[in-house]
Assembly symmetry: C2
Homo-oligomer: 269 residues x 2
């Protein structure tokens, strides 16, 4: 089963479009977790055990592991999600480089960590993208329009009647997707942009960050992002769920936050 099939199956099984971002920051862990020998894995495991029924994917953000040399705990986390719960894992790394180097980044994501999908940056063009998409069973999630405050400086530049991010969308849809394994990141902080991109493709799945800590309007982003089958989006929340409490009840609080968001999304479907 390839990534998109696996993702769609999990969406159905769990009746969820929610992806939880695993962005661990040890200074936000409760003391009982900090004191463990592998605190990041202990934290993630507790979050995963409490939320696996309410998600369609998990998305560990790699910088949070690389910054402190916790590659082993990233690997433990990915293995745990896949082996215990068979839920798709998106490695959020936003890589991009010339072909020969992109091949090494693809190897990092898909061979070393065995992630099911990876996020990548489109700025360097198709010889970068192709090194990832050639792994046909994996998902390649390309940044189109991101959710951060200054995303528009480059992404919204006008190019004739259109914009840079719309050009990226067209490349993803028309030129780069020979293996049918591309998805796009569209920030949910700007529903009009989401609507513009949805008008270009009914098929492609969008990963929508920006809900939760980044403050997007959930109703707007669901209604503008859904395709004609009331699907085609996955909505990521990271900090608003995993740090819903920073006390010993963090896993229960994360479960409640996940259920609440799962239901809110489904109410707008």
């Amino acid at each position: 089963m390839n990534f998109i099939e696996h993702l769609n199956k999990t969406i159905q099984t769990n009746n969820s479009l929610l992806c939880i971002g695993l962005d661990p920051l040890v200074n936000r862990f409760p003391e009982s977790i900090k004191q463990q020998s592998n605190p990041i894995f202990a934290f993630n495991k507790a979050i995963i055990d409490a939320t696996f029924n309410y998600v369609c994917a998990y998305k560990p953000q790699i910088a949070h592991y690389n910054a402190i040399g916790a590659e082993d705990q990233l690997q433990q986390t990915i293995d745990y999600i896949q082996n215990k719960y068979n839920i798709p894992v998106i490695l959020d790394s936003k890589r991009g480089d010339i072909g020969s180097t992109a091949a090494q980044y693809a190897k990092e994501a898909f061979v070393r960590y065995n992630a099911d999908a990876v996020t990548i940056n489109p700025y360097m063009g198709s010889d970068c993208v192709n090194e990832f998409t050639k792994y046909q069973d994996k998902g390649v999630i390309i940044l189109c329009r991101t959710s951060n405050p200054n995303a528009g400086e480059i992404q919204d530049l006008p190019t004739g009647n259109t914009t840079v991010y719309e050009n990226v969308a067209q490349l993803c849809i028309k030129d780069w997707n020979a293996n049918n394994n591309i998805l796009m990141v569209i920030g949910s902080t700007n529903p009009e942009q989401l609507q513009k991109i949805r008008a270009l493709t009914d098929e492609m799945i969008f990963l929508l960050p920006g809900v939760g800590a980044q403050g997007a309007d959930l109703e707007q982003c669901v209604s503008k992002g859904l395709n004609s089958k009331k699907s085609g989006i996955i909505i990521n929340a990271s900090r608003s769920i995993i740090y819903a409490s920073e006390a010993d009840n963090f896993a229960d609080a994360a479960q409640q936050a996940a259920i609440t968001l799962q239901n809110a999304i489904n109410n707008y479907r």
Copy 2:
């Protein structure tokens, strides 16, 4: 001494604008290196010991280490270059993400590895860039126009009378460089583009990849890239130097290739 001062001092001391990229691929190492317990560090050490007099910087490309879990050997390499030869180290990682995550990538580069400079991707805008430039003594080298065959798909998109990459250059020069620690990557494979960007700034230093394995015209890229002080560029070569020979004489061959390229660059200054 900040990164740019350190770089300029090394350029003067070694009379060199050459940066050597350390992109190790174990399958290209001679058997005698492959058999060592830390083959990547052994390979890099031999290259560094043979070339330190002829370079202004080294640029380890991080995917080549991450792909096989060799973070420890990357750290050994950086430490060795800094402690034994006091030559600036550019960590080539082309990172980019929302501010809170960019802060983790900056921590990876500047705290974990203690690199002197890092390459980053501009697609996500200034809230990403600022997390790196706030390390005032470090260098932040932003992708402007890259050297790979399909770079133009996004970077050359026309935006009125200009292009995406020229917009990136203007942002780097006018808006993002409050701490005077930004440099730009301009591929040497297109000298006309290099000339356009040089016309926008006499001051800013450019990192020029694409010489060597990627086949750029050295005379053109030196003549179009130099500023009015016959400086302002560093020219990177990776594979053409470190794999000049793949036999036991690889370090001697790398030394010869480095000297030849150093002299060729200086001849065109």
